[in-house]
């Protein structure tokens, strides 16, 4: 079955308010947003942000996330050491949440972004439905990887006892923050309709 799409009908859809209008229109008649039939330079931007996020994940896992100074001795801990700390103290629920949010989710998200990009690059149009399901999943779970960043930011500002105890952010915090933000931007710049456009062109 051949579906009517916005490209075949010469229309473009406003991605903010959902009004369908003629292709010649530059600005949405209803909300005033700039109109494009597909997101501009979607593939290039998504590749760029996904690669940047992958590079930032490496220092994020090697360097310490935060440095606790208590009674004169410094102690840094990486993301995985933080997870192990909770598991060894019997806090399985919180250890599990942190492991999922800051180790499993970022890697899964980047894997999905690469999968989606490869679907388009190699024209594997029969995988578009699976790809779209995964795309919806990473949209929902995406923000949860910020959890560890928020914890560090809160702890640093809460624990400030002059001379006795203080917490400082380590290098991993900024790298991890960059990795998560770039992954979120890469899912925002990705246009899932490109997967279905290939489908249409090949089937006709």
């Amino acid at each position: 079955m051949i579906w009517k799409t916005d490209i075949s009908e010469g229309k473009s859809l406003c991605h903010l308010c959902g009004k369908l209008q003629e292709r010649t229109q530059d600005e949405c008649l209803r909300c005033g947003e700039t109109l494009h039939q597909r997101k501009v330079h979607s593939l290039v931007q998504t590749w760029g942000y996904a690669l940047a996020a992958t590079l930032f994940l490496i220092p994020a896992n090697i360097m310490p996330m935060m440095i606790v100074t208590a009674m004169g001795n410094n102690e840094g801990s990486t993301i995985m050491e933080g997870v192990i700390y909770f598991f060894s103290h019997g806090e399985y629920a919180i250890g599990g949440i942190i492991f999922i949010a800051s180790v499993a989710v970022p890697i899964f998200k980047l894997a999905v972004v690469y999968f989606l990009l490869l679907i388009i690059q190699f024209k594997q149009f029969d995988k578009a439905q699976t790809g779209l399901k995964l795309f919806h999943i990473i949209h929902i779970i995406g923000k949860w990887s910020m959890l560890d960043i928020f914890v560090v930011a809160l702890m640093v500002s809460l624990v400030q006892f002059q001379g006795l105890a203080s917490i400082q952010t380590g290098g991993a915090a900024i790298a991890f923050c960059a990795a998560v933000v770039f992954t979120i931007i890469s899912t925002n710049t990705f246009d899932p309709r490109l997967m279905f456009d290939i489908n249409k062109r090949e089937s006709i």
């Binding site: 579906w3 799409t5 947003e33 006892f161």
Partner: protein
């Protein structure tokens, strides 16, 4: 009657929505993703937004917790926790964390009120379209629910190294985040335009 058409944001096919009921959820016939989700009425959303806003005031000015290490006590308000970074070096993380957890949710609440109140007073939704665009661009960056869980994680981590007492500010912040989350899920920004269309 004129045909009203829209297109699926996820796969691009054209869907005829002339005889759709706005109280039901619709999904795309080709890619099965939801493209219309009904929202609650604007009155309910407005009440919830005001509730959230009222919870925000004590949440930011009252102390959220009191820490005690070796007979030294230290109580922190959320405003202090946020402003602390300005004098300190961790500027980027602080700005991102406090924006996503506190200020973007607050801004979104303000925008929702600034959109609903003029429309309720009978003005055309076209006049608030700048607010609408800002709202749509920002609302993926509000991470209130993540911030809430991160507070619990921080409490568990801190309880290992200091004695701490939770204060009223934390509870009102908790309620602020919950009511904010309800407001965001209830509010469907597309209803702004359909309400406007009916008046024409």
């Amino acid at each position: 009657m004129q045909k009203i058409q829209t297109a699926c944001l996820d796969c691009g096919i054209i869907i005829d929505v002339s005889d759709f009921d706005r109280l039901q959820q619709y999904s795309c016939p080709r890619c099965h993703s939801v493209f219309y989700r009904p929202g609650e009425s604007f009155d309910l959303v407005l009440v919830m937004a005001i509730t959230a806003f009222l919870f925000f005031i004590p949440a930011i000015f009252l102390p959220i917790m009191t820490l005690e290490i070796m007979d030294k006590t230290h109580s922190v308000t959320l405003l202090e926790a946020v402003l602390f970074f300005i004098s300190d070096g961790y500027f980027i993380i602080a700005v991102i964390a406090s924006a996503a957890g506190v200020f973007v949710p607050l801004l979104l609440l303000g925008l929702i009120m600034m959109m609903i109140i003029p429309v309720k007073m009978g003005y055309s939704a076209q006049r608030v379209r700048a607010f609408f665009r800002l709202y749509e661009h920002l609302h993926g960056w509000a991470m209130a629910e993540v911030y809430l869980i991160s507070i619990f994680v921080a409490i568990v981590k801190l309880s290992g190294m200091a004695k701490l007492k939770l204060d009223f500010g934390l509870f009102s912040f908790f309620f602020f985040l919950i009511t904010f989350y309800i407001t965001i899920t209830w509010f469907n920004s597309e209803d702004l335009w359909t309400e406007n269309d009916m008046e024409d």
